[in-house]
């Protein structure tokens, strides 16, 4: 590779893949295979959650429709939210991180390969358990935040909610395992020369995300065990009519997890953006330190904003005002990132391949989700808009228009590394345009529906002026979006078999994962290039203008 090269850290013990064929997948402790298991699992559940979304939109396409019963609708919207958050977005990020973080830091595996495997299988068990409730004839139907006392046995007597609680606890345990592992790997196994200030930004964001997971999912699991105790052992943590019970306590516990959870699903997206935008702009990220630092700021602030989910609960004015201020403050580091990505593109040489298209759409859609988010931080606006379709539009702009679009940018970018083949660009462009049109058609009108008084989580609605037309637009949009997703999945399948061979570094990218074969060998690397800046492969290809020669303060590190 070059005359100068270094060896990655020795492995704690070699990656083990015992058995053959399918057995190899069951017993593997190779972080790459486990990453693929996470990704395939979340793509499967993406299909499940997507079908649930379409059922929701079919029922809501016309006023007073009777396609689904209220009980069916309520179970489906509960499972849609739970599935998309816990079984799609989180595991897709964790899976990609599992695959890429060791490669990006020049490690041969993760710190705890067996814990890594255990984490995945416990997570998968949880995902299966929440759907296993189907065999009892019920599914959880108390909403994805399962507010007490609705989620208590007195009002949700069927076992669906119990399965949901147990499944979530298991997923929490698995995810905490993955977070510990990523954190230890990043702290301990970075390649020689890779200081924290030379780490790829995706690794930075996964480091912060892992810390958030540790401090957010642990209280969630505690709260879930309390709720389960209420339901099965007749305890009364959250039963309002029993002495000492408080319905609002559940909300504090849930949102103490729930808001950091938003950043668990957003920071990895920010990390992907920070890898894709520079490579396709042919420039380094504008303001590396600010991008990393604003991620740290977001991680800290994410634990100080949870009450903005509870402004309509009737808490005291000082409490509401304090959390309003913190929620507005978190918009600042988020805004910084938006400016950094768009300025990275400025005066670049932009390659308009599919990853950059998704990244560009991410910026605009995420800004829409961000500014409506700031509206919710303004308490009186929240008092009007929360629990309406406006908030449904808001968080889908953040999580679908944001996180999912960043994931698509990332998948088109890293698929060649993982499979050794390129995704089809033509299908990719179709996927992109259908997704942009479908996504915005589905969710933009929902802002207006919320403003004209349509509450969320209703299985049907009376035909107030405009409701029918706007709901129909939203439903048509959802089917366009579904077509985009089908094209995406089709692209993954056909390109795996017939895609153009990728080579080691098809995008002329700069981070270490591109310094090995595609797909990488089991031990990832034999030798590594020297790491003297955040872009070791750029330095290698352009020694005359290498980053480490640059006198600019941002690059020296």
């Amino acid at each position: 590779m070059s005359q100068e090269s270094v060896s990655p850290h020795a492995l704690p013990f070699p990656p083990l893949t015992r058995g053959w064929g399918w057995l190899a997948w069951l017993s593997t402790t190779d972080h790459k295979k486990i990453g693929i298991l996470y990704m395939v699992t979340s793509l499967f559940f993406f299909g499940v959650g997507g079908i649930e979304a379409l059922l929701i939109r079919i029922q809501l396409a016309t006023p007073e429709a009777k396609v689904l019963t209220p009980q069916e609708y309520n179970a489906i919207f509960t499972m849609h939210g739970t599935t998309m958050i816990f079984l799609v977005v989180m595991p897709l990020f964790i899976g990609i991180a599992n695959y890429l973080v060791p490669l990006m830091i020049g490690a041969r595996d993760v710190a705890f390969p067996r814990l890594n495997a255990l984490g995945f299988w416990v997570f998968l068990l949880g995902g299966i358990v929440i759907y296993l409730a189907l065999f009892t004839g019920s599914l959880a139907d108390a909403g994805w935040f399962s507010y007490a006392p609705l989620s208590e046995a007195a009002y949700s007597s069927r076992p669906g909610v119990d399965y949901w609680i147990v499944g979530l606890i298991e997923m929490g345990v698995g995810t905490i395992g993955a977070a510990v592992n990523l954190l230890a790997t990043i702290v301990r196994y970075r390649a020689p020369g890779m200081t924290y200030r030379r780490m790829p930004l995706f690794v930075w964001m996964m480091m912060i995300t892992s810390l958030i997971i540790l401090y957010a999912l642990t209280p969630l699991n505690a709260g879930l065990i309390m709720l389960l105790g209420d339901r099965l052992l007749h305890l009364h943590f959250f039963r309002a009519n029993v002495s000492g019970g408080s319905a609002i306590l559940w909300q504090h516990i849930f949102w103490f997890f729930g808001h950091p959870e938003v950043y668990i699903m957003a920071l990895p997206a920010f990390g992907m953006m920070s890898e894709v935008v520079p490579v396709f702009s042919r420039k380094p990220i504008f303001g590396y330190t600010f991008v990393a630092g604003s991620g740290v700021a977001i991680g800290l602030l994410s634990f100080a904003v949870w009450v903005h989910h509870m402004f309509a609960v009737g808490l005291s004015t000082p409490m509401n005002a304090a959390f309003s201020a913190a929620s507005m403050l978190i918009a600042v580091p988020t805004g910084v990132k938006i400016f950094n990505w768009s300025t990275t593109m400025f005066r670049g040489k932009l390659r308009l391949d599919t990853p950059l298209l998704f990244a560009a759409a991410f910026i605009i859609q995420f800004v829409i989700g961000g500014i409506t988010g700031t509206m919710f931080a303004a308490v009186p606006l929240d008092w009007q808009l929360t629990d309406s379709y406006f908030v449904v539009a808001h968080f889908h702009y953040v999580l679908f228009g944001g996180s999912m679009f960043a994931l698509w940018a990332g998948v088109y970018y890293w698929y060649p590394k993982i499979t050794g083949r390129m995704l089809n660009e033509r299908l990719g462009k179709w996927h992109f345009w259908l997704a942009v049109i479908g996504f915005n058609a589905t969710f933009f009108v929902q802002h207006i529906l919320g403003l004209v008084g349509m509450p969320r989580r209703v299985y049907t609605y009376p035909n107030l002026p405009g409701y029918e037309a706007m709901n129909m637009i939203s439903t048509v949009g959802a089917f366009i979006l579904a077509a985009a997703v089908v094209l995406f999945l089709w692209n993954l399948v056909v390109s795996f078999r017939r895609g153009k061979p990728a080579g080691d570094n098809p995008w002329d990218a700069w981070t270490l994962e591109w310094a090995t074969n595609s797909p990488p060998p089991e031990h990832n690397f034999e030798k590594l290039p020297p790491v003297r800046s955040a872009r070791p492969l750029f330095d290698l290809a352009h020694p005359e203008i290498a980053d480490y020669l640059d006198t600019h303060s941002e690059a020296k590190a």
Binding site: Q71, G287, N320, I338, M345, I364, T386, Y459, T460, L464
Partner: protein, 319 residues
């Protein structure tokens, strides 16, 4: 059915000082947001068009950042947000109960149930359901509680929304400037029939309101004919009166499980907004509640045709 829902229920058509204050804050935030959105979108699209790789090769200048620029785009949003925060705190005070806003207010207690609303007028011995009559131009001070799970009272044109939490009474203020019917709904997911927990606020001139209140305070009409008398007998004798109260029927429900049905004929809708309140609809509601509002706690008593006629005649105070 649409005549029940022919008016908008929009945050953007406020009909009270409180909703107007919030609407005002919305538009300020909206225009600031539009400037930011247009600026960022234009910049991204400009970059995509202007700096597209046209295949001439070579690298663009490798700029790594600029501290002055970074500090600027940190500080400018911060200043905008500080302004927004000040407006937020001011608006919170203006639209919340205080000695100033509730000085001359009318107090009404709101009890939320799965899946209907109970409105109690402490001053007038009047209890009604799902439809709240108020005088125009006067602040209404609502105290919200819940009989079961968490619900949320929301009439967008008249003011904020507020949760009705069991064991945690909340207060809020609304007002209507003009007479009319204002539509609202439960906004917190509360189980099976969350969709059908609609609110109608009927704002009347002070005189009309007073006349309505006086009429409501009267007992339900005594049976004027044999059919109504049978109806009352059924209401008291079947299980109806264990959940429902009718003033003057001789029976009082032990618990507020179902709505008070005194002067039911006065209301626009049945089943918390599902159907218009007509004798035919009431008959169908009694005959098969599940076909009107699936999942509701109203039981099907398998009433005969004559029983239905008699009950409808009594409940609607009609011959």
């Amino acid at each position: 059915m649409d005549r029940l829902y022919s008016t908008v229920a929009s945050v953007l058509s406020p009909a009270s000082p409180y909703a107007r204050d919030i609407g005002h804050l919305f538009w300020i935030t909206f225009w600031i947001s539009m400037v930011i959105l247009l600026f960022v979108s234009a910049f991204v699209i400009f970059n995509l068009v202007r700096f597209r790789d046209r295949g001439e090769g070579g690298l663009p200048p490798q700029t790594h950042g600029n501290t002055v620029v970074e500090v600027t785009w940190t500080v400018v949003p911060l200043v905008i947000l500080i302004v927004l925060f000040v407006l937020t705190v001011q608006t919170m005070a203006a639209v919340s109960p205080s000695t100033k806003t509730t000085a001359n207010a009318l107090n009404v207690d709101v009890v939320a149930h799965q899946w209907w609303w109970e409105f109690r007028y402490p001053d007038g011995d009047v209890v009604t359901a799902n439809e709240l009559h108020i005088p125009v131009g006067r602040t209404i001070h609502l105290t919200l509680t819940s009989a079961d799970v968490i619900h949320d009272f929301w009439v967008p044109e008249l003011g904020r929304k507020m949760d009705a939490v069991p064991g945690h009474p909340n207060t809020m203020i609304i007002q209507a400037d003009r007479p009319g019917t204002y539509l609202g709904t439960c906004a917190e997911y509360c189980g099976t029939d969350h969709a059908w927990m609609r609110i109608r606020v009927v704002a009347q001139t002070p005189d009309a309101y007073q006349a309505w209140l006086t009429a409501q305070a009267q007992p339900h009409a005594q049976p004027a004919n044999a059919k109504q008398a049978i109806g009352r007998g059924l209401f008291v004798g079947l299980t109806c009166s264990s959940c429902h109260t009718i003033k003057g029927s001789g029976a009082t429900a032990s618990k507020d499980v179902g709505p008070d049905l005194t002067h039911l004929a006065d209301r626009d809708t049945l089943a918390a907004g599902v159907i218009a309140n007509t004798p035919e609809n009431l008959r169908q509601w009694l005959a098969d509640p599940n076909s009107i509002k699936p999942g509701s706690y109203m039981p099907d008593l398998h009433l005969s045709s004559q029983q239905l006629d008699a009950l409808v005649a009594y409940l609607e105070e009609q011959p």
